[in-house]
Each structure stands twice: as C-alpha cells, then as structure tokens.
C-alpha cells in the first residue's frame, strides 16, 4: 500500500498522530534482557505489540541497530510490524544523502532489504540525490527541513535571499518541485512551533514528521496547534525515549503503553 494512503488510514483508524521512535539502547533495557543475543528485537517488538493500536506509524532509528551490529534484528523487527500490525507504516530514520548512484543503493537498503515504507533523507545534496527514493512511488520520502537540535540553526536558519530562511527554501522546493508523485513529507522539530506554523503555511497539507517532544523538550500543545492540517491530521509526532524507557523492569512494555496512551491523548486534546 502507498505510504501516504496507509498513513492517512492509520490517522483515522487509530485516532492518533503519535509516532513511536524505536531507538534501542541496550544499556537502558530491563535487566532480564541483558546479555540476550536478540535483546534488541525482543525489546522493540514488545514495545511495538504494546503500542501499535495507539500509533499512526513506527520509526526505527537505524544508527542504534548499526552500532550494535544488529541489522538482522532490524530486518526482523520491520517484518514483525508488517506481519502482526498490518496497516502500520514503518519509517526508517536514516537521514541518508548522497549522489544518485549511491542514493540508489541506499534506497535498495531501506525499501528492499529492510522493507521500510518510508525513509528520512537529507536535502543538502539537492534534487538528484533524492530522486532514487522518489522513484519508489509508493514509498514515503521525508526530507529534513528544520531540525530540533541546537545546531539546527547553524545552516537552516540562514537567510538565503529576501528574508527567506534555508529551511523555508527546502520546504518550498519539496512541496513545489520534488513532490510530483505525492510521496514527500518534511521533518520539522517540535522545539520551534513558530517555524512549524511557517512550514505548514508553505506546504499545504503535506505531512510533517515532528521529533523533539518528550526528552527533547518540545511542547505538545504548541506543536499540534502550529502543525495540524485543516482536517486535524497532517502530523506524525514522534516520541522515542519517553515511551521506550517509561518503565525499567519486566513491566516495561505496559509502562510504554501507558506513556504512549497519555501522549496520544495529550496530542488529541489539541487537534
């Protein structure tokens, strides 16, 4: 199914704009998983099973798997989500960005090897570095626009002419030129609600992936009010650590469910 179709269906069916980010850090796993060879898969799949009916998508962060030599567990995890929770799109958070021939290899990695439904991509190298992903017309391509980290302003906030900021130029390029197949989205951090609102003005109802609530301090009310589209959807609001590590013991998945439910409901109060 097309990523955008699946996402819109999940927004409605789960009544949720919440994206749970899967950033597995074995040092923070409950004690009974320590030393288990498939600890990453077991931890993440229990989180997934406990929260799938509360989310519009999941977002595994590939760096956490790669640092642990656990690509096989990432493959198994995405297959598990698709098998057990059909209709739940999976975004591979990889932020890749390279010339066309290499980008083609990264697209194979994300979409064919891992079976992801969407990927995050860095726009710094321009259009032909993004095209190999766009050619998978049923997959989502989520471009970094305004990121939630302190250094995000170093380049993204530069004035590129007539008062337009670099992140605004990226938003315009994506909405007006790169989105011909209707499979683009943008990353806009929750720590900058005014800039979420500005991006929303520029891109119509393009979906926005919003990291930065929870551990990074972004405000849920301000994020939703600034970023929702006309029909009260349009957002994938990501929370990772605040949900994954809500509990630290055998009950970690139940604690994650409670945290996910609270976050989903807090988001819904402002839609």
């Amino acid at each position: 199914m097309h990523f955008m179709t699946a996402l819109r269906a999940a927004w409605r069916a789960r009544n949720s704009l919440l994206c749970v980010g899967l950033d597995p850090d074995p040092a923070r796993f409950p004690a009974h998983l320590h030393g288990q060879p498939d600890a990453i898969f077991r931890f993440c799949s229990e989180i997934v099973d406990a929260t799938a009916d509360l989310v519009c998508c999941f977002k595994p962060q590939i760096a956490y798997f790669a640092a642990q030599r656990a690509e096989d567990q990432l493959e198994a995890l995405i297959a598990h989500i698709h098998a057990r929770h059909p209709g739940t799109p999976v975004i591979l958070d990889a932020k890749r960005g390279d010339i066309g021939s290499t980008a083609g290899q990264y697209a194979v990695e994300a979409f064919e090897r891992f079976g992801a439904d969407a990927i995050t991509v860095n726009p710094y190298m321009g259009r032909d570095s993004v095209e190999p992903y766009l050619e998978y017309a049923d997959k989502g391509v989520i471009l970094l626009c305004r990121t939630s980290n302190p250094g995000g302003s170093d380049l993204q906030f530069l004035d590129v002419g007539g008062g337009e900021r670099l992140f605004e130029r990226v938003a315009r390029l994506v909405a007006d030129e790169w989105n011909a197949s209707g499979n683009c989205s943008l990353v806009v951090g929750a720590t900058f609600p005014n800039e979420i609102a500005r991006v929303r003005e520029l891109v119509g109802d393009l979906p926005l992936l919003v990291p930065g609530i929870g551990a990074q301090g972004g405000d849920i009310a301000a994020t939703v009010e600034a970023g929702r589209s006309a029909d009260g959807t349009g957002l994938m609001i990501n929370s990772s650590r605040a949900i994954l590590y809500a509990g630290a013991d055998h009950d970690f998945a139940a604690a994650a469910r409670r945290a996910a439910l609270d976050t989903r409901d807090a988001i819904n109060r402002h839609r």
Copy 2:
C-alpha cells in the same frame, strides 16, 4: 595513529594524492566471482592489494555494502587494509547527519565497529550533530561542502548574505570553528574547479576530499591546480568506478593497478 598524521605520511611515502573509492557493485564483478558468498570482500581486497602502494587512502562507500547485506564483508575489508597495508587510512563514506545522541551511535558504528580512520558527515544539522565524531580526536571528520552532483547547487550555491554561498559558509564554519582538534576536512567536487579554489582560499591547508574525477567527468589538471595546498599536497582525489571496473575479467586487479597508476601520475604531473 591520528588520521591526519597517517594521511600526511601516506602523501609523502606513496607520492600520491589518489584515493581509491570502494563502491562494489556485484553486477559489474568479473564472472568468476558471481555467486560467491564473499564476492564483495574478495573483489575489494584484490583491488586494495593491487593498488595500496599507489594511494594515500581508501574510501569504502557503505551504501554498496548495506544494499547487499554485506556489513560483515566491510568489517573484514577494513581489517584487511589495516593488517596488510599499515599506514593506509580508511575513510568510511557514510555522509551521516543526525542529532547528537544518534550521531554518537553512528560514531560507534564507523570508528568502533568498522574501525574506520575517518568518516564523511553531512553538515545540514549543524555543530552538535558533528561533535560526537569530533570527540574521537584521532579520527578524521570530513564534512560535505560543495558536492559534485548536478543537484549540489540547489542548496549549496544559495547566497546566504553578502554574496557568500552556503558552501562557503560551511567551509568557514568548519575551518574556523569546528576544527579545534585539527581533525576536520571537506568534500569539494572536482566538477567545480573554481569552487575548489575558493574553498582552498578559505581554509588554508585543510585537506580536501575531491570526488568526481573519472566517471563523473571532473578534470584532473584543473582540480589539482585549484586545490593543492602550498606544499603540493592537501588533496585526496577520489576515483571509484574508473579504477574498480577498468578490467572485467580475471585480470581485473591488474587492470585496476594500471588505471590507478595512470591516475596517480596524471595527478602528479600537475602538483
């Protein structure tokens, strides 16, 4: 050994500014390797053994390994280079870029898991997205500045104030602020010699990694004249496909050696 120390020693000892890029595409391997489970390692290690005395560094491109589920062969390849060709720095071409906590995981992947001596990094997310790599003070951190692909101009050529282009701002940020530990370098494509010269003006003798000669059409003479530092070094001039696929049969490694020798000598004629 510090990446920069190893690089300078290799420039002198091998009398070479050539970087051989390892972008293994199994469809282009000689027939006797087709279907072999370790074909990627065997292909790349034969190229390495045939060219190591002619290069200042090797640059495996991780996407080509990841698309083939061959991370184990990448680990083995880098270990092989370090064991058989000591003093030859290995750049992991990964172009990662993410928030600090995730960048820390990518640094573990590149430097601890794969044992790379340097990594390429995307600057779009700013300083704190680069710091986790910089903290490995003996490793090289090579920031994208002006890339060799057609879309490179979409963002990198934007005027960010007073006639300064975005890639010039990146060059200044890296040289003046991010290079406190002396372990930074920049990627500047061979297809834009005037811009290589401009970056050289801005960054003193900072090493530049220059892709884009060979298959991508950049001119060797113009690249060397524009980019060399005062002592005739300062460049890692990358060639990938023109060397890897110089031959298509059992003699592919010998053909690669001839192509590498020709390229090294063509570079040296203009130093």
